[in-house]
Symmetry: C2
Subunit: 209 residues, 2 copies
């Protein structure tokens, strides 16, 4: 038995340096949290063999990407390693209005831009690795990467970490199950925020009759 | 295995109309949540037979209460039904500094005053009854109360409910176990807020070395 009160969805942003376990966390959350869908980004970078169009990314030409920027079809966009990445606006706005939550796997640049347009809907979580050594170890275990790529990743990780203080919540991923439990609690709590429960006024009116 | 990061405690305020189950919820939370202690209020009203000094309230004379107000020993105080109620400041400040959380079972007047002095530490939750009929039924089942007292309680309940929109979170108590689970999630999430994890700067410095 549960009283259903209409609510507005939220935008759950997960950011972290590469190697902090964010991708695994995102996948687990999407598997267990009903009503949570992933925002699929659009990008100009080339599809990797293990990626699928419309699942991992929408892969587009630089020209198509620029047109989307000009037509205000993106919530945020950024350039990373000479490639452009962006978040399509339409599907997100529709989900929020229907009370569904949207997960964003984006970096600090994207988060800052999302904040500008949708501060009230945003819940931002920064995921930290448990230690410097563990971060280094995780970045080096991607065998297909060259030393140069690893070095660039390490520099980018340090840059990303330096933005931790711009997030609402910070969790340390020293145990994937515990980290998931923590994000689940954040999601459960944020869904109970008064400002998201748009049906409360009607409900209270019924109580006071 | 869990990385311990020093944090500042929080003040969890539960408010609700009488008969919404707040007292039961408070008791259950105190039993299950480690590190959560109840803020014991001071009052000028007379002790009831089932109450204990220093557990339910600190019972004092009007003169002692007034002295505490004058000496700024109270975080908030209010008058309800000709009796004065207040929250001693010292124990709360000590708990927060030690990373312990404090539960407040207070009304909207007390919550407003707490907000003025400690907005950053405050997490406020309003508990609503599931329906008008259920609220009425719960208020009437206290056999020892006169009709006049019940009528006053009903008026006070309506007054209290009218302040729901001043709270951070709102939950409907249609199932005590679910309501407790929800408050536990709010507590878990709020403990992960960046601003409460005062040890994060040091931790990140270690990551970036």
């Amino acid at each position: 038995m549960s009283t259903a009160i209409a609510r507005r969805g939220l935008m759950l942003v997960l950011s972290s340096p590469s190697g902090a376990g964010k991708t695994t966390l995102s996948r687990r959350l999407l598997e267990t949290e009903t009503g949570l869908t992933l925002s699929v980004s659009v990008t100009t970078r080339r599809k990797r063999p293990n990626e699928a169009e419309g699942v991992d990314y929408f892969f587009v030409t630089p020209e198509r990407f620029e047109a989307a920027v000009q037509d205000d079809e993106l919530l945020e966009h950024a350039t990373v390693f000479d490639h452009r990445y962006g978040t399509p606006k339409g599907p997100v706005m529709q989900a929020l209005a229907q009370g569904r939550d949207v997960l964003f796997d984006i970096d600090w640049q994207g988060t800052q831009q999302l904040k500008e347009g949708a501060r009230e809907d945003l819940v931002s979580v920064f995921v930290l690795p448990p230690s410097h050594d563990e971060l280094e170890r995780r970045l080096k275990t991607r065998a297909q990467d060259s030393d140069e790529i690893v070095a660039r990743r390490m520099a980018k990780a340090a840059d990303e970490i330096s933005h931790w203080a711009e997030y609402d919540y910070v969790i340390v991923n020293d145990d994937i199950v515990q980290a998931q439990t923590r994000i689940t609690a954040i999601l459960a709590a944020e869904r109970l925020r008064r400002t998201r429960q748009v049906g409360l006024s009607d409900f209270v009116r019924g109580l006071m009759r």
